[in-house]
Symmetry: C2
Subunit: 395 residues, 2 copies
Amino acid sequence: MINETYEAMLGAKNIIRVLSEFAAKRGEEIGYENVFDYSLGNPSVPAPQAFTDEMIRLLQNEDAVKLHGYSPTLGHPLYKEKIAESLNRRFGMNYTANHIFPTTGAAGAVAHAVRAVTKPGDKILTFAPYFPEYNPYITGAGVELGVVPADRETLQINFAAFEEMLDERTAAVLINTPNNPSGVLYSEETLEKLAQMLRDASVRFGHNVFLLSDEPYREIVFDGKTAPYVSKFYDHTLSCYSFSKALSLPGERIGYVAVNPACEKADKIVPMCGQISRGLGHNCPPSIIQIAVAYTCDLTSDLSVYEVNRDLIYDKLVELGYSVVKPGGTFYIFPKSLEDDAVVFCEKARKYDLILVPADGFGAPGFFRMAYCIDTDKVKRSLAALERFTKEEYR
Amino acid sequence: MINETYEAMLGAKNIIRVLSEFAAKRGEEIGYENVFDYSLGNPSVPAPQAFTDEMIRLLQNEDAVKLHGYSPTLGHPLYKEKIAESLNRRFGMNYTANHIFPTTGAAGAVAHAVRAVTKPGDKILTFAPYFPEYNPYITGAGVELGVVPADRETLQINFAAFEEMLDERTAAVLINTPNNPSGVLYSEETLEKLAQMLRDASVRFGHNVFLLSDEPYREIVFDGKTAPYVSKFYDHTLSCYSFSKALSLPGERIGYVAVNPACEKADKIVPMCGQISRGLGHNCPPSIIQIAVAYTCDLTSDLSVYEVNRDLIYDKLVELGYSVVKPGGTFYIFPKSLEDDAVVFCEKARKYDLILVPADGFGAPGFFRMAYCIDTDKVKRSLAALERFTKEEYR
């Protein structure tokens, strides 16, 4: 018999995908340029030319047997070294290559990190609003996901609710800053407060509570700021990174887990990820991509468009009377819906060819998400539709 | 606390890796060209130039945002279509794109296929000698691996032992032809007999016993033959393929699961693999590799060297009095050791700079494996060492 659990999962609709498919279909009718599709978090700017050039150089000059050969189980040494060097230089860390485990994007990173620091039956806490794929990543490891309710005014950590939920079964806490879907960035003070609570809890429970930091948007930060490096604040941190967003390579599945050298059993965690990989059937990310990214890991795509888009949309939302927190990074914005049921709200918006995602699945009913990784021209054109929709439906 | 199960796995040594590292170290002393390293199954011939050309063409001409963007959850349509067409044309199947699930190599394919047709607590049977990584792939899904003892004379399926072990808890049978480590190819008669036993067992147990066919060596077949296509023989077959060997792309992690259209709930299995992927943190194999392989999936590297090597080694082993089955494919040969303890035998061989792998881990104590995916020149030079070793140690 086929597996009934996975079979049952087929019934569930992924709202983002449903909306994105609706947008594509509508595009066939009226031209996709006229569909204001804010559904998908797919980068809209190309990878740096240096990445393309490096790929071509490798294909033209390297021995194909070596280039396309198996990476060592724990990853290509060059990739591991370059990532460690880059993180050390940029964030004052002291990683060695041995603290870096290459993964297939942040999805692979979180899947490995979760298994390394939990056993089935443990609990991981995360903060609403949160990325819905945390559910399969975590339950797939037999671990329970506890969601700390959102602070609905600031979209920052709701520390009071967190304090209540943080208990002895909590093996780890999973954060995401800058945050998908809210766009908020945690400040140094927030991270310091979180770290202190984790240190206190670790003493109280007699075991370290690990911090899993999912940070694919780390380089997409606005207003001239940089994101505080989470692992600086707490020793027992596993940083989960992906080059999907900053290098615009989501399809190429390349990221890593970086284990803080001061973490409990830091030297064992990367080799353990190698063992975990065997059971997941992963093995390493693609060899050629590891090598090309090793040489370009300090670059980013031209990310400035996301800030331009944020400003346009944020200003318009405020002007129209929306309650919305100004995003500090990412390419998402997360306003409150104008009626309690954001699903209904987003359905009404579709009549104006505005594709907005209701946030129930993100653990924050009553909000909606706009992924503004789209052409600025389309953003501009969408504002009139947003205004018309808002005024006609909610005046 | 870190996960104790994975931590405990760190103690276990992978004998192939240990030997391969020994070979590399010895190479630093005497020059690697003088180490007769038969440890690793890493292809020794380059990927076809057409693959390299296609990669460069994509990088130079395609829109980078599209090229490196997320594949759809169930894989790139072009890849799925081209694979289905190729299998249909070559093997008389009737797959559609919907029956093909792209994976990160055969490891990913087996990991998904196992989860699709089992639940934790089920049992999968395989036949010794077998690829040791089946252990983590299968136990990683909470499933028990039962190993049917080898037919030590033919290295073919031991049907009598299989009949005894095939019971109601058996959810699936996992085969690998041409076989790593033995090199044997299952004939049409063997596959027909196996299929009939599975059909009978399915009726007896009241549930279909699935057949998982791991076939990364499908194109490496000798003596002008082609491998019978396993799925032709039994409806409830999931074929697990990798381009690692035939296209010499092991590091690029590209393969697929092909679900027989007549399989139980065939139309659900690929979408279920999509759900399984979320829990494993896989998502799709790299986009650019999917596209480049879509255009080159009917090609192979120049595989003729493996047959040349087989002939040289087989003839020498027979001449020296080894008991050995002539491989029908792959780049492995699997002779009986000249003493009961193959570990001791292989240790003695190391004094002659012959790196042979004892087969205890493959479920066949008393045998050893030679992976002859190495330069023919080195194979030739190794034969004198093999002769000297055999005569001096076992005359």
